[in-house]
């Protein structure tokens, strides 16, 4: 399991990157992250929604009420222009951390 601090820090870039592929809703976002991380990256389900709402209030994403296959109301989220900019910055920063870590690890094996 991944530490909760890292899970929290990665929530925003992951949500932005998932929504960059098209609009989605809370349950699907959680399932997708779980599947892509082989279940190692797990949020407390309910905690996703305050994060989504905060991102919406900051103008990164927007939402609309739609309908699920069963006819129930479902809230769909999609990326806004500021969200795309934020996502690019997240990618840049996480890539930098990744490259520094990779470099240090390679040096250990030299």
């Amino acid at each position: 399991m991944i530490r909760k601090e890292l899970v929290a820090a990665s929530a925003e870039p992951l949500i932005l990157s998932l929504l960059a592929r098209g609009e989605s809703y809370g349950y699907a976002i959680i399932q997708e992250v779980k599947a892509r991380s082989d279940g190692k990256l797990q949020w407390t389900d309910g905690m996703l929604y305050p994060v989504l709402h905060r991102m919406e209030h900051r103008g990164l994403i927007k939402s609309r009420w739609g309908e699920s296959e069963t006819g129930r109301k479902r809230k769909y989220y999609s990326l806004k222009k500021d969200g795309k900019t934020a996502m690019a910055k997240h990618h840049e920063q996480w890539s930098l951390v990744h490259s520094v870590l990779s470099g240090l690890r390679k040096e250990q094996y030299v």
Binding site: Y27, G46, M47, Y49, H57, R58, G59, R72, K75, T85
Partner: protein, 215 residues
């Protein structure tokens, strides 16, 4: 006999009792709970087992409430604030446009006075419009939410005081002059637009700062 609908209604009541009162989050959480229950039941679990797991996964109400409280001003209220801003600015500009230029050219002011009056008018128009658009770039980032709200309330009180002054004192001077009354009415909306812009700008300054630092 286990009643799934009743159990979900009970869970909803527990969430409400714990303080998650806003309809939108609760509606979303309930939808999530139902989707998870359906998924678990498709995997072969019984309804009570599926409900138990889904409720556990969704988390405790006090923790959720704490997180939702950090969310800030709801989107719906932000839209109302923006609409109020647009109305204030539009009414203010409309009144200014129909009273200021005739006032400047109606009396026997000297050229210099007219230029000065027009300059003051132009600055007021610019401030009225731009305070909503660009205030967040000039105003400080006040991270302390109660302090930020207090400044917003002071601005609101300022509007009320100005309205009281305009409504109960200035009309005495404007008796019989329709254009002066319109001018006063416009100035009232101008003050509201400018002070409203300050309150809005403070909130926007924080959210913009958060956007920059987080990303």
């Amino acid at each position: 006999m286990f009643d799934l609908e009743k159990s979900i209604a009970d869970w909803r009541q527990q969430m409400l009792a714990a303080g998650i009162k806003t309809p939108v989050p609760l509606e979303e959480l309930e939808n999530h709970l139902r989707e998870d229950i359906a998924q678990q039941m498709q995997s072969g679990l019984s309804a009570p087992q599926a409900l138990g797991i889904a409720v556990k996964k969704i988390g405790q109400a006090p923790e959720l409430k704490r997180e939702f409280k950090k969310t800030g001003i709801p989107m719906e209220i932000q839209k109302i604030i923006k609409l109020a801003g647009v109305i204030c600015v539009t009414v203010a500009l409309f009144c200014q446009l129909f009273t200021c230029p005739p006032f400047v050219f109606a009396f026997g002011f000297s050229l210099m006075t007219r230029v000065l009056l027009l300059a003051v008018w132009a600055i007021t128009v610019a401030t009225t419009v731009l305070s909503w658009r660009y205030n967040h770039k000039l105003l400080p980032v006040i991270r302390n939410q109660p302090l930020r709200r207090a400044v917003g309330i002071v601005c609101y009180m300022g509007c009320l005081l100005w309205m009281r002054f305009v409504l109960f004192h200035l009309p005495e001077f404007a008796t019989g002059s329709l254009s002066l009354l319109v001018f006063l009415f416009g100035s009232e909306w101008t003050v509201m637009a400018i002070l409203g812009g300050v309150g809005h700008g403070l909130e926007k300054a924080v959210s913009r700062h958060d956007l920059k630092t987080a990303s």
